[in-house]
C-alpha cells in the first residue's frame, strides 16, 4: 500500500473488523478510482473520463469541517497537455456558473513550482515542512527571515521571498516570475500557465482565473497544475483539483491524470437560505427613475403572459432570476437589455422581450 505517502494516517477514520484487521473508511475518491483503473488496465488505448458523487470521511483539526463530506468530482485519465488542463478547469468553472454562483474565483497554481524552489534552496525534509507552512500562510515577514538562513543564490532568494505576493492577474504574475528568474523549468511552468489562461479566454472564462503560486493542496499527490474554486460568502474552497501524474506512478504505471472534486455540503449550505425564502423568478426588472412607467408596464405585460416577474429597486441586485432586464432611455428611444448568466440580448419592444423570454424559458414550463 502506498496510501501513507498521500494521506495523513491520523486523519483516517478507522475501524477494526471481526478478524482484528484495521479498516479505514474512504478518505478521498481520486486514489481508489486511480487504483481501480490501473488494476484493470496498464495501458489505455483511449482517454477515460469518469465522474462520481461519493461520501468521504476524514478527521480534521478544523472544527467547522464535518468528518463526513459529500464530494462530486471528475477524473480524466490518459490525456496530458494544457488543452486537457484547460478543459477540466473550464468544466469546474461551468459547474459554478450552472449553480448560479454570483461571483467566483479560481486560484490556479503549480505544484512543480514550489518543488523547484525547494530544490534551489536545497532544503531537507524538516525544512520543507517549515517552508510549506510559511507559504501556505502567506507569512511574508517570516518567510523573508527564513530564506536568509538557507543556501541558494540571490536571484532564487528574491523570487522565493516574493512567492506570497505572486497572486493575481495571470499575465502580470507570469511576466513577473519570468523577469525574476532565468530557470528553464520555471519558464516552462509559466508557459504552461500562460497557455491555459489564453485558452480560457476562448471559453470566455479567463476573468475568473487568478494565479496563486503559493497554492498547495492538502493532498500531496499533485504534480503539475493545481486549482481551488471560491464562491462568495463561503469561507473555504468549494472545489479543488489538479493534475496528478505522479500518483499513477506510485501504482506502477505512469499515466497522465487530472481531476477535481466539489464540496457539495459547502455549496448546498451556501444556497439553502436563499432558495427557501425567495421563489425563483423568470424575469427580474431593475427599475430606475427615468423608466418607471416602462418597468411597470413591462412587468404587467410579462405577468399576463404567465412569467414570474418582479420589479426591483436598483439597490437590491442579488435577486435570483433567470433573466435580468435593465431599461435605458435615449431621448424617446427605450431599449430593453436582457441578461442571463450566459448571454445578453437587447431589443426595443415589449413583445420582443416576451418572445425572447419565451424562447429561453419555454422548455421548463
Amino acid at each position: 500500500m502506498h496510501l501513507q505517502e498521500n494521506v495523513k494516517t491520523n486523519e483516517l477514520v478507522k475501524m477494526i473488523d471481526h478478524g482484528g484487521n484495521i479498516l479505514a473508511l474512504r478518505s478521498d475518491a481520486t486514489i481508489p478510482i486511480t487504483k481501480r483503473l490501473l488494476q484493470e488496465s496498464h495501458e489505455l488505448t483511449n482517454e477515460r473520463r469518469y465522474f462520481y458523487v461519493l461520501d468521504v470521511f476524514r478527521y480534521t483539526k478544523d472544527s467547522t469541517r464535518p468528518q463526513e463530506n459529500t464530494q462530486a468530482g471528475v477524473e480524466c485519465f490518459g490525456a496530458n497537455g494544457f488543452e486537457t488542463d484547460t478543459e477540466v478547469i473550464a468544466l469546474s468553472m461551468h459547474t459554478l456558473q450552472d449553480l448560479q454562483c454570483a461571483s467566483f474565483t479560481l486560484e490556479v497554481g503549480h505544484a512543480g513550482f514550489f518543488q523547484r524552489c525547494m530544490e534551489a534552496l536545497d532544503l531537507d525534509v524538516e525544512q520543507q515542512c517549515t517552508f510549506k507552512q510559511l507559504l501556505q500562510t502567506k507569512n511574508i515577514g517570516e518567510l523573508k527571515h527564513y530564506i536568509t538562513q538557507t543556501e541558494g543564490t540571490d536571484d532564487w532568494k528574491q523570487l522565493i521571498e516574493s512567492i506570497p505576493l505572486l497572486y493575481g492577474n495571470p499575465p502580470e504574475i507570469i511576466q513577473l516570475v519570468r523577469n525574476k528568474i532565468d530557470d528553464p523549468i520555471i519558464h516552462k511552468q509559466m508557459d504552461h500557465l500562460e497557455k491555459i489562461y489564453q485558452l480560457l479566454s476562448a471559453y470566455h472564462l479567463a476573468e475568473h482565473m487568478v494565479i496563486d503560486l503559493s497554492l498547495m493542496n492538502h493532498m500531496d499527490y499533485y504534480s503539475d497544475i493545481i486549482f481551488q474554486g471560491f464562491i462568495h460568502n463561503v469561507g473555504k474552497p468549494v472545489l479543488m483539483g489538479g493534475r496528478y501524474n505522479e500518483l499513477t506512478k506510485q501504482f506502477g504505471t505512469l499515466m497522465p491524470a487530472i481531476g477535481f472534486a466539489c464540496d457539495i455540503d459547502a455549496i448546498v449550505a451556501s444556497k439553502e437560505d436563499k432558495e427557501s425564502s425567495v421563489p425563483s423568478l423568470d424575469v427580474c426588472i431593475v427599475q430606475n427613475d427615468v423608466c418607471t412607467n416602462e418597468s411597470l408596464s413591462l412587468s404587467t405585460f410579462l405577468r399576463e403572459s404567465g412569467w414570474k416577474t418582479r420589479v426591483i429597486q436598483k439597490k437590491h441586485i442579488n435577486i435570483p432570476a433567470q433573466i435580468i432586464c435593465h431599461i435605458t432611455r435615449n431621448e424617446d428611444q427605450i431599449t430593453y437589455h436582457l441578461t442571463t448568466h450566459k448571454k445578453t440580448f437587447n431589443c426595443t419592444r415589449k413583445n420582443e422581450v416576451e418572445a425572447y423570454v419565451q424562447s429561453l424559458l419555454s422548455k421548463e414550463t
Binding site: 461571483s103 486560484e107 517570516e142 506570497p164 496563486d212 471560491f230 460568502n233
Partner: protein, 212 residues
C-alpha cells in the same frame, strides 16, 4: 465596494491594534472598550468589526464569519487554523517559554507533566523533542501548577518574565517569539482580493519599518 468583516481580539493588544487602524484611517466612532456592543462599523461603513475573545478570533476567520482578524500569534499557533497570516503588526511582542521550579534542563526528563493555556503548543514542543508529555489545560495563573506540584513545568507566554521569576520559577527554554498578526480567510482573499489587499497595504504603510 464590498464590506469587510474584521474580528479584533479583546484584551491587552486591542488598544494598540485600534491605534494602528486609526493611523491607517480606519476609525470606529462608536467603539469604547467598556461598551457591551459586539459589532461596530467604521466611519465609511466599509469595515464591520467584531470585538471578540482572543482565542475565538481564528475560529471566526477560519470559518469565514470574519474576512480578516487581528490576534496574537500564540492563539494562531494554538488553534492550528488554516488561514493566511499576512502582516506582523509588531505589537504585543512576547515569547513562548518553558519554565519550571528546578533549573533541571528539559532534555533530562524521561517524561514530563506540563500545565498550560496552550496545550497544543505545549504537547507539540515536547513531541518534537521526543519527551513523553502529559498536558494539563489551565485557563489562568499557570505558574501555580509547579508550585503545588501539579505539574513539572509550564508553557506560557511572557513579555518580561517578571511574573515567572516572582513565583520562583526558572525559564528553561525560549520557544517561538510572538506578536500580534493580521490574519485573512483564504476564501475571502480570493473573492475580495482588491478590498483586502488595499487594507493590508494601508496598514503595512503605517507600520514601523526595519532599518534599511
Amino acid at each position: 465596494m464590498q464590506q469587510l468583516t474584521l474580528a479584533l481580539a479583546k484584551g491587552r493588544t486591542a488598544k494598540e491594534s485600534l491605534q494602528i487602524l486609526q493611523q491607517a484611517n480606519i476609525r470606529f466612532p462608536d467603539f469604547h472598550p467598556d461598551s457591551r456592543k459586539l459589532i461596530f462599523e467604521d466611519e465609511t461603513k466599509k469595515i464591520r468589526m467584531l470585538y471578540v475573545k482572543a482565542v475565538d478570533v481564528t475560529t471566526y476567520v477560519e470559518a469565514g464569519a470574519a474576512d480578516i482578524g487581528i490576534v496574537g500569534r500564540d492563539n494562531i499557533l494554538e488553534s492550528g487554523a488554516n488561514i493566511y497570516e499576512m502582516l506582523d503588526l509588531q505589537i504585543g511582542t512576547c515569547a513562548f517559554i518553558v519554565a519550571g521550579m528546578s533549573p533541571k534542563p528539559i532534555h533530562t526528563y524521561s517524561s514530563i507533566k506540563v500545565a498550560s493555556k496552550y496545550p497544543n503548543v505545549a504537547s507539540a514542543y515536547f513531541d518534537q523533542h521526543n519527551i513523553p508529555v502529559e498536558t494539563i489545560t489551565l485557563n489562568g495563573s499557570v505558574e501555580l501548577a509547579p508550585l503545588i506540584h501539579m505539574a513539572d513545568v509550564v508553557v506560557d507566554i511572557v513579555e518580561t518574565g517578571t511574573t515567572i521569576k516572582e513565583n520562583g520559577l526558572t525559564i528553561l527554554e525560549r520557544l517561538d517569539s510572538i506578536s500580534t498578526r493580521l490574519i485573512v480567510n483564504k476564501a475571502s482573499f480570493a473573492t475580495k482580493t482588491a478590498c483586502i489587499q488595499q487594507l493590508i497595504t494601508a496598514i503595512d504603510h503605517v507600520l514601523p519599518k526595519e532599518g534599511k
